[in-house]
Structures are given as C-alpha cells and as structure tokens.
Amino acid sequence: MKTFDLHDVEAVVKSIANTAIANEKYFSDLDAAAGDADFGVSLATGFKVVLDKWEEYDRSSINAFLLKVSMVITGNVGGSSGPLWGTAFMRAGIKAKGKEEISLLDVASMMRSAIEGIMARGGAKVGDKTLIDGLIPVAEVFEQHAQDKDHTGVIAMATKAAEDAVETTKDWVAKRGRQSFTGERSAGTPDPGIVAIATIMKNLETVGQE
C-alpha cells in the first residue's frame, strides 16, 4: 500500500494554504450572507503567515512539522477559526507521532482526531452546520476506502462527499459558529467552513495526481 512521507504532508499543507489565500474573497462573500464577512480574510491572513514562515519549520518529523504549523495557524488565523483550525492540525500531528510515513488509514485516523479536537475546542456538534459537517463525510470516505482504493480515488470520492455536504447542509439552520447569530436567516446559505473543506479537497485532487 502506498504511504506518504513528510514531503507529501508538506505538499498537502501548502495546497490548503494556497486554497485559503486564493479564495479569500469568495469565502468572505459567503460569510457576508449570514455571518460577519471576515472568514475568508481571517483564513487567508493566517495561511499567508504559514507560507511566510515556510522555511523555518521543524522538519525532523511529520509530527513536529504539523505541530509547528498548527501553532502558526492558531496564532494568526483571526477569530475563533484560529484555535479551531490550529487544533485540527495539532491533532493530526499528534496522531502522526512516531511515524515517518503514513498510510491512508493513518490519514483517516488523523482526520477523525482532528474532528474530535475541533468539536471539543469549539463545542460544535454534528448537524450544527459548521465545518464539522463537511469534515465528517470526508473522513468517512477515507475510513471506508483506505484499503480498497488508491489515494487519487479516495481523494476524488472525498471531494464529492464534501461537495454533497455543501448542498445537503445548505438549507439547515446553523446552531453554532458564525452563521448561528443569524438563526433562521442562515437557512439557504451554504456554510463558508463547509465550502472551504470542499474547495480544499477539490484542489487536493491536483496535488494527489502529482
């Protein structure tokens, strides 16, 4: 089975950062519909710092690298997104401890731990219409197909699952996070966090093919 090393992890982080930066306006515009319009700016600002510090990270292991990235995200992505996204990378890093290479199954357990971390940190539950509802379908695809598909196939299926999540959750009323402040008004507007997950996955398809 194919495994992934630090180099691959770096490529994934870089792709996520580039997605956040390239979609600054798109994510903020989505947020403006039912939130406070700063999500895209917060995310892009933080991930710009992630790239600015790119050469400085501890690269002694996947664990060390992801922990350093998580601290930069936590400190530089604005608002509550910083600690939430930072926690996700931190949890993923902790799960990768002691591993020089990770399998798709490892990735699945890193994602599951990240989801639990975000829920613990932010108090969001499944169905509250937050990025959790975008991440869970993605993690499920990794869990179910880590052993019967190659990584490009898994990423493609996970992307589809994330895009479906954007559509299914669109009409939900947000119960937590930025959209919850507008209550019923949030129904009909996709959650920017869930859209961000789908966009990130879409761009990872290209990385996976390289």
Binding site: L67, K68, S70, M71, T74, G75, P83, G86, T87, M90, R91, I94, K97, G117, R121
Partner: protein
C-alpha cells in the same frame, strides 16, 4: 500618549529583562518563548506551577514567580494571550516526574492556548493539571469570556497552590486545591479611568471625567453599568455588597480581604477603601484573618480598584500564611 516606552513592540521583553536584571541569580529568562522561571528550581522536588496570560496586569503574573509561588510564567503581549508555543515550551521546561500545573484566568485566548499546549504536552508524556479561575462576579459573559472573568482572586490560587506544592502535594491535590480556592473567592472592580496599551497608543475605552465603570474588566471590558463618581465609601459599599451576596458569605466566616489597585490608584486611596471594606466585613460578621492592600492584578495605568473576598478554612489559612518569596517583595 505619554509613557515610559522605547519601541512599543519591545515593551514586554524589555520589562522581562529589567525584572531579570533586578533579581540577579534568582530568575532566568528564555527570550524566544518569553518564559521567566525560578533559577533555583529543581522541577523534581515538587509539582511546578506555571501561568501565562496577557501582559499589562503586573505584578500578575510574572512578578509572582518565586519560591512558594509560581515556578514559571510565559506571558503574551499586553492584553494578548500567550501564543501556544510559549505555553507548550513552558510546560516542557517545567516538566517533572510529578507533572506540572497551570493556573489561568477564564479568558478565551488564555484558556485556548493552554488547553492546546496541554494536549501537545500530554502527547509527549507530560502530566498536566489545569485550574481555571473565574472570580469576577460583575458579568456572566464578556467580550473576552464565556462565563465569568478571572481577576485578582487568581493570586490566592497561586499562593495556596504554591505553598501546598512546596509541602509535597500531588498534581491531583493541587488541582482540587486550586478549584477550592476558586469556589470560595469572589471579586469585583471599579474603574475611574481607562488605560492605554503601549502598542495601541490610545485608550481602550472612553470614560468621562466624572464617570466610573462599575464591574470593569482588567482589559477595560464593560462591567455592569456606567455611573457618576461618588464617595469612596459608597463605591466600596456597592462592590462589597455584590461580592458578599454572590458566594454568599455568611456571618461567622473567616476571610481574606484584598483591596487591589488597578495600576493608577495611589496607595493612600487604597487604604481609604480598605477602611470601609474592613468596616463592612465587621458589620456583616466576617472575621478578616488576612488582608492584602496593594497592587496584585492591574490593568496598566487604569485608576481603579477591585475588592476580593476569600472564604477560609484551616487549610487555606495555613497555606496563605506560609512564607513565600517573589521578585516584587524584596525588603
């Protein structure tokens, strides 16, 4: 803005360096992570106790580093939580066989930084205990908090846990002790003026010449209401009443009473305030067995005061009376 400041960006590290230089051989400084710690500490002698919040509240908490108090502190910038890596490095530096305890006030940023650092440290096999202080009765939620804020009551958690740790208490016992202090301590403050963080250069809120903010937070967060300035006694009556009724304290309780200056109030005024607070304690049947008048948890140069009452039992009374040394108490 008129302040004793060089480059505002260096305000915190320069303060830390000054503190180290004023206490030669007693304190050490890790500049990269802004960690100050006891030079004489052998971490395996006891459970080390650490703290790390925004700066601007001095002597809280860096100047409470010393024997019988904190073993290390990793503060952030003025009114800004420490970055996660400061907290993580602080836990690693203080790692001991018995674990390490952190005590922080209930602010979202501080809590988040330390909770993340705790998770990372635990993944490294470090045992970490946490105590969160929320003694301010003024408001339930604020711009910086879910739930109540933590203010000067934190000092009593540091003092009690610091003494108990020196007596050999385990991490679990210290967490329980810190929570006991928090369960029995209540505070509330009043501001007569705003304050100006050096890097911001302007006051964090506006307060009219004849106005006071009742229930102010130590970052200038709004309290219960704006009022006109009134007599010292009337101000103490209001905050004493709020604090007393909250626990509630009861006639016959033995207490520690603290009148804490918020940074810009002369000590003379603090004693005028203490006078009334002590009278109110007596009038309500509270026996003040320990008292504290001075600056413990400030908000830069804010003129104002907070009143803290801690209900004592024999254990807490003994721990508060135990000797301690820290940088700001040198005679």
């Amino acid at each position: 803005m008129k302040k004793f400041v060089n480059d505002p960006a260096n305000f915190v590290p320069e303060m830390m360096e000054g503190l180290i230089m004023a206490n030669p051989g007693k304190l050490k400084y890790v500049k990269e992570y802004n960690i100050i710690y006891r030079a004489d500490l052998n971490p395996n002698d006891k459970v080390p106790i650490v703290q790390g919040s925004g700066s601007g509240h001095e002597p809280a908490h860096i100047m409470a580093v010393g024997k019988g108090m904190l073993d290390a502190a990793a503060p952030g910038n003025v009114f800004a939580a420490p970055p996660v890596d400061y907290a993580f490095e602080c836990l690693k530096l203080m790692n001991s066989e018995k674990g390490v305890l952190y005590i922080v006030n209930n602010y979202q940023g501080d809590k988040m930084a330390w909770e993340m650092a705790k998770e990372m440290a635990e993944a490294e096999g470090i045992k970490v205990g946490a105590v969160v202080i929320d003694d301010d009765v003024a408001v339930e939620n604020s711009t910086h908090t879910f739930g109540r804020r933590g203010v000067a009551g934190n000092f009593f958690a540091i003092k009690a846990c610091g003494a108990a740790s020196g007596n050999g208490a385990s991490l679990e016992e210290l967490v329980a002790l810190g929570n006991k202090v928090n369960d029995n301590v209540r505070s509330m403050g009043v501001a007569l003026s705003s304050c100006t963080p050096p890097a911001k250069g302007e006051p964090i809120f506006e307060l009219g010449e004849d106005e006071i903010e009742v229930g102010v937070g130590i970052h200038g967060e709004p309290g219960r209401r704006r009022d006109k300035i009134k007599s010292a006694d009337a101000i103490v009556e209001e905050i004493f009443d709020a604090v007393y009724k909250d626990l509630p304290f009861q006639s016959g309780d033995r207490v520690a009473l603290m009148i804490n200056g918020l940074g810009g109030t002369p000590i003379s005024e603090l004693y005028v305030l203490y006078r009334k607070a002590a009278q109110l304690c007596e009038g309500n049947g509270l026996k003040v067995v320990r008292n504290y008048v001075g600056e413990y948890c400030t908000s830069l140069e804010m003129a104002g005061v907070s009143l803290t009452l801690l209900k004592l039992d024999n254990e807490l009374e003994e721990l508060l009376a135990a000797p301690a040394e820290c940088a700001i108490r040198v005679f």
